[in-house]
Subunit: 317 residues, 2 copies
């Protein structure tokens, strides 16, 4: 298919409604540009970037692609205000906000001609995002890697729940690595998908080869939602996870868990490849990820599977 | 649609690939017969039945329908062997086994001309079920109500994972209450759906009106997976849940949790309607269930939504 025409592709000016998630230590300029060049929307993940480094990634991304791309700004970042100033000054066309109040920045971003999508884990937050005036909503389910909602609602239940309360175009996230899962989300009411794990394990992802290779060997049950007393996060069950889990089972306090977790553990694990002591954030769907293709290959595969699945379903009626 | 022709409808001799789950205190003869009369496959849930009562339900079900129906036998029931003898003596056409080893009964059931499906929560168990010679596999995700797998794999991830390792017809379960979700599961590789919560909250369900009415008011996050140290079970967050949860947070042992849970709490809650002190088993998808229709109405709605969604997706390519 040359282009899929719907509200998401029209909103962002892209060909395919596939968005790469803004993943810490994975989503730099290289991955974002590759996804955008392939017809999707690449996001630079600002969660692990200081403002100056974000600016460098934006400049670099512009050199690598002429297509629209975006930046994901987690509003809980200590630098969120400065990151937003960079995004506005650099006239990035799209911003995805997450982990915070969508009212904070939406108007200011709109005044600067920037499209805004907000990531939510419940229909209550989706409604708030719509009221804040965002252009699209991302509904991310329990199966997603990294930071996650407290209600543990899965993509299968969350997407139709959000669809019921908003009119805005809806992007599904969590558990999506194939065109079949993309089509499943469309059947649930989504018009686009945000894909994390699959792009984290791509050639252009900034993650270490050690981390990517590990992810291609994970099985069901090898990631679990952890750190529920701090901020629920899906992690690979490595040595660090087991330490946290034992402490949680024994009723450890938030402070005790924070001490075990320490600082910089996501960088240590994902970026530097310390697979035992690092914080390894990846989604459940890693259990079906078995190779490290380019971002372009991922987009092509997903769109071709998507079309093939539609033909098969069509024959049912 | 008059009939959907695929491996699941052919296997069971039914018109629509919609199976009602064998839910304790909900799935008696009345519900099973209503689902079968509507063109699906109704299951009598033997988990809350002693052998004599199961026989009564089977006899009653035969009076209420001429269509095929089945019995779900949880293999961890203390009566599982006697329940199986009843099923074989009464020549029930279909048995769904769960919570145990599929090798135990499959051959014996087959020798008696009974079709066998086995419920799993992982692709590893799915492969074992296929090796045991079952006729179909049910893959049930984390969002499902009641007893659940330890690996917490969601329907969105589990269904394609199981599809990858087995050739048998696959039935998806967990989070499915609409034709849209049914189609989503088909896009993931399923050929049928097992629907629990939606039929638990139907006119013919044996659950108390108090329980059904409560379920129509639940929101996202109102059920949680609990009792992980005993046997993971999705429960409504009522007073009993909070007692269990506080104990779990404080590091309670399996024995301490068992004492809080006590006995007969599912009956107390679901059947007798003690909403605060009973064990209320229902899935996440209760958050979009807002009425108490007949089973026939549920089957009709799902099939009509299923067809409508296919037409909409077809226009995308």
């Amino acid at each position: 298919m040359e282009r899929l025409d719907n509200r998401i592709t029209r909103l962002f000016g892209i060909r395919y409604p596939i968005i790469s998630g803004g993943m810490v230590w994975c989503s730099g300029a290289k991955l974002a540009a590759a996804v955008s060049n392939a017809g999707g929307l690449g996001l630079i993940g600002a969660g692990s970037l200081k403002p100056d480094l974000l600016r460098e990634h934006i400049v670099k991304c512009r050199e690598l692609t002429k297509e629209p791309f975006g930046v994901n700004v987690p509003l809980m970042s200590p630098y969120s205000a400065e990151l937003m100033e960079v995004v506005i000054r650099e006239k990035v066309p799209v911003v995805f906000t997450s982990a915070g109040n969508p009212k904070l920045w939406t108007d200011r971003l709109h005044e600067n001609g920037i499209k805004v999508a907000h990531v939510v884990s419940s229909s209550k937050f989706a409604l708030k995002a719509q009221q804040a005036g965002v252009d699209a909503v991302v509904a991310e389910g329990f199966e997603a890697g990294g930071h996650n909602g407290r209600e543990e609602t899965t993509t299968m239940v969350l997407v139709p729940s959000v669809k019921e309360v908003i009119d805005l175009p809806l992007i599904a996230a969590g558990g999506i690595a194939t065109g079949g899962a993309m089509l499943a989300c469309f059947a649930l009411g989504a018009e686009g998908v945000q894909v994390g794990s699959r792009f984290a394990v791509s050639y252009e992802s900034s993650a270490s080869l050690e981390f990517k290779t590990l992810c291609t060997t994970l099985n069901e049950g090898d990631t679990m939602l952890s750190l529920k007393k701090i901020s629920p996060t899906r992690l690979v069950r490595n040595r660090l996870f087991e330490q946290i889990d034992s402490a949680e089972q024994a009723g450890a306090s938030k402070e005790e868990l924070q001490e075990i977790l320490g600082r910089g553990k996501a960088q240590q694990g994902i970026f530097y490849g310390d697979l035992e002591n690092g914080e390894l954030e990846i989604g459940q769907v890693s259990s079906i990820i078995r190779d490290i293709p380019t971002a372009a290959e991922i987009v092509e595969r997903m769109m071709s599977e998507f079309e093939q699945e539609i033909s098969q379903l069509r024959s049912l009626v």
